[in-house]
């Protein structure tokens, strides 16, 4: 008889008896079964704890402490705890390790080595509170030349323009599918997007009927599983996005386990209840840029060429060349998702080791498109782990037209980045379909929080622009002269096309 390799608990969960009022809210709120109320005390099961903070947030007596347990192993610089525990886990199970959220290794963010510029004396800075500060962005093809007829004030545009999306702020909410997240979460995003004049993505799960009221602020996704894709789905949208890849798991497909496919998810995805929703790794009707052009055009034909079509790829080594292909495939935008992008579930090894940083991808894609004279053919939408307004301001200065925020929007809803989204037990009602848990997230409050976050970041973006003497987002985009690299090596400075500090 073999004994499984024991992996020590990660956390201590302690209830201070001198403070505890025995109200039982910890037990009621914890969906992982960490607490059990007994006659005169609360018993804890710390091995179940994922540090979601639900108990701490709801304990009226502030009686709960969660501590990381450390110093369990003999220190070894190479065989760190994580390596050893993964081996125990896989020796026990023989299985692939599944993880949630984004890349969990400490690759240094390039954003933290980039500094923004400000004006001093020679060029006046601008106060965005009192002066106009334009953050409106149009996503889609821009004509290379414009032809007009007439003269003076009486002119008419002869060039026919491609459909564009109008954004009042360059911040959109990323694609997170119904199934991966709850309807309450999606409603929060949709309401916030509508209120702020921006957009949210459906992800690959169809559009729930409750979201149709927000269809003019919704970007629908067509991924390799084609879940929920019908003429109505395409029609009820502001734009369409073909998902070819995801930064958290480049090169592989998706897999919504059957237990998450309840009646409502089944209706929206258009598959039977309890069936696995498997998205193949590639789109099997796309094996080349020519094939991609065919799907782009098929989608445009199906919607009478009235909607922009974006193509999303993971930031990989050849992202720039692929983006140039996308620009030539009639697409209106290329979405690049960096290696720190989030996910509900991904094999850990892919999440942590595949892809490239979004900073390098934006810079190289923008440069490639400019060098080929086709930058106007596609907008660049960047995503993948933007943590604050500085990250997204730097992303725009590197060449992005707009950004998607995913994990940050979830955190606004209360997500604590515990990384257990795939368990479907999210106590914050975000990454779960359990009605009791979903009811904890009020979409009206959620929308307010997401809207607050985007509003605050947009204000900060305006402050940063104003400090740099820039009053239009168009003048910030690709303006790498307003960035300097701090302690970045020469190679990466060259890729970013950014000078070093002091230069």
């Amino acid at each position: 008889m073999s004994v499984a390799n024991y992996i020590p608990n990660k956390y201590d969960v302690v209830v201070d008896p001198s403070r505890c009022r025995m109200c039982g809210r910890c037990e009621e709120n914890c969906s992982y079964g960490v607490f059990r109320k007994e006659q005169d005390r609360i018993v804890t099961f710390p091995s179940n704890c994922v540090v979601c903070h639900r108990c701490i947030s709801f304990c009226p007596a502030d009686a709960i402490t969660i501590r990381e347990r450390t110093a369990t192993y003999r220190h070894h610089p190479h065989w760190d705890e994580e390596s050893r525990e993964d081996i125990y886990n896989q020796a026990n199970t023989g299985r692939v390790i599944l993880g949630g959220m984004g890349n969990a290794r400490s690759y240094p963010p390039i954003f933290d080595r980039l500094l923004l510029d400000a004006c001093q004396i020679t060029n006046p800075s601008i106060d965005p509170l009192r002066e106009p500060m334009e953050t409106r962005v149009y996503l889609g093809k821009k004509p290379a030349t414009v032809e007009i007829t007439g003269s003076g004030r009486d002119v008419e545009l002869k060039t026919s323009l491609s459909p564009n999306l109008k954004l009042e702020t360059p911040i959109m909410v990323a694609h997170m599918s119904y199934g991966a997240v709850s309807l309450a979460a999606q409603k929060s995003f949709a309401m916030a997007a509508q209120r702020l004049g921006t957009y949210m993505g459906t992800g690959e799960g169809g559009t729930h009927p409750d979201l149709l009221a927000y269809k003019d602020n919704i970007i629908v996704q067509v991924a390799s599983g084609r879940f929920g894709v019908s003429p109505d789905y395409l029609a009820n949208s502001a734009a369409i996005e073909i998902k070819a890849g995801q930064g958290a798991k480049p090169g592989i497909g998706g897999h919504l386990p059957g237990e998450k496919v309840d009646a409502e998810v089944s209706r929206t995805r258009m598959i039977p209840v309890g069936s696995d929703a498997i998205s193949p790794a590639p789109h099997h009707d796309i094996y080349s840029i020519e094939d991609l052009a065919q799907l782009v055009r098929a989608l445009k034909e199906a919607t009478d060429w009235k909607k922009p079509v974006f193509v999303k790829i993971a930031a990989v080594h050849n992202a720039a060349a692929i983006a140039a292909g996308i620009a030539r495939a009639d697409a209106d935008g290329v979405v690049i998702d960096g290696f720190k992008g989030g996910t509900g579930a991904a094999p850990k090894v892919l999440r942590d080791h595949v892809g490239i940083p979004i900073e390098a991808a934006i810079a190289s894609v923008d440069a490639k498109l400019r060098n080929q004279g086709i930058r106007n053919e596609v907008s660049i939408i960047a995503s993948g782990g933007f943590r604050n307004s500085a990250d997204l301001t730097k992303a725009i200065a590197l060449g992005a037209d707009a950004v998607y925020i995913g994990t940050a929007a979830l955190i606004a809803l209360g997500c604590r980045v515990c990384g257990k989204c795939y368990m479907g037990m999210c106590p914050w009602g975000i990454a779960t379909q359990t009605p009791r848990l979903v009811s904890r997230l009020d979409p009206i409050e959620g929308a307010q929080k997401v809207a607050n976050l985007i509003t605050a970041w947009t204000h900060e973006l305006q402050e940063l622009m104003g400090a740099a003497g820039i009053n239009s987002i168009e003048s910030l985009r690709g303006n790498r002269d307003r960035l300097r690299g701090y302690l970045l090596d020469e190679n990466i400075l060259e890729v970013l096309d950014v000078k070093t500090v002091g230069a």
């Binding site: 992996i7 990660k10 525990e85 993964d86 886990n89 896989q90 026990n92 199970t93 299985r95 692939v96 390790i97 599944l98 993880g99 949630g100 390799s224 599983g225 084609r226 894709v229 019908s230 003429p231 395409l234 897999h255 386990p257 059957g258 089944s266 258009m270 598959i271 039977p272 309890g274 069936s275 696995d276 498997i278 193949p280 099997h284 009707d285 065919q294 799907l295 055009r297 098929a298 989608l299 034909e301 199906a302 919607t303 009478d304 060429w305 094999p347 850990k348 990384g419 257990k420 795939y422 368990m423």
Partner: protein, 247 residues
């Protein structure tokens, strides 16, 4: 019935589809397209349930993609992915067709008189009353019914000049049924695909489809004279035992 015949020689696909859309909006319910030569996306996204389109010639890829309702008959061969992600309707091809016939189709029927290419019926799926069906008269190449999540594929293998099906049949299948005329070697079965007993109920299903096939193409295929192999998923959760969770 309000009919219209259009000569589409030298017409590009956008103009062609615009013409179809305008005709449909004007009440036309029967359209004949003559001299079709490689135009893609014909009837793409059209939702008129009572519309019938006759295609004389060879249409390009994505014939009837995303469509919801119309009936299309092709007198000629078709390129790849006819019926791509279609919701409902009928596509009858009196000739051969390329790869990915019925890619991700969710409902409706596709019948091909001749042979088809690779990955036919990939990821077709059923939903409530929607139950997609593909009938192929000749042979189909590798990866038939890959990722199949619902519906029926029937391969008759008539006059087949090569193997009726090749390898990786139903690989990754997690819903639906594949019927193949004749025997299958074990090595031809894909991951998660297993043979099941061909029952009286199956014979009824197959007979119904063959009756339609005969009516469409004037053939006289007799289901009773054929030994069918039935392939279904091992389970609706073929990959459930693959993962352990991060600690």
């Amino acid at each position: 019935m309000n009919e219209r015949t259009i000569d589409v020689k030298n017409l590009d696909y956008r103009e062609l589809n615009r013409t179809i859309r305008e005709a449909v909006a004007g009440g036309v319910r029967s359209i004949t397209l003559n001299n079709v030569l490689g135009q893609r996306f014909i009837a793409d996204g059209i939702t008129a349930k009572d519309l019938s389109i006759t295609v004389n010639g060879v249409p390009g890829g994505d014939l009837g993609a995303f469509m919801d309702g119309p009936s299309i008959r092709v007198n000629g061969n078709a390129d790849h992915a006819p019926g791509n992600t279609m919701t409902s309707g009928t596509i009858i091809i009196d000739g051969d067709a390329g790869d990915c016939v019925g890619h991700s189709m969710r409902g409706g029927t596709i019948m091909v008189r001749g042979n088809v290419g690779y990955r036919v019926g990939i990821h077709m799926k059923q939903y409530r009353e929607q139950y997609p069906k593909i009938v192929i008269g000749g042979y189909a190449r590798s990866f038939l019914g890959e990722y199949m999540a619902g519906g029926i594929i029937l391969i008759l293998g008539l006059d087949a000049t090569e193997a009726i099906v090749q390898d990786y049949v139903g690989t990754g299948i997690h819903g639906g049924t594949i019927y193949i005329a004749g025997e299958l070697e074990d090595h031809q079965l894909g991951v998660a695909a297993v043979r099941k007993d061909f029952t009286e109920d199956d014979l009824q299903v197959v007979t119904g489809l063959i009756t339609q096939f005969n009516a469409q193409f004037g053939t006289d295929v007799d289901p009773a004279a054929i030994t069918f192999t039935k392939i279904q998923p091992m389970s609706a959760r073929p990959f459930s035992g693959l993962y352990t969770t991060e600690r």
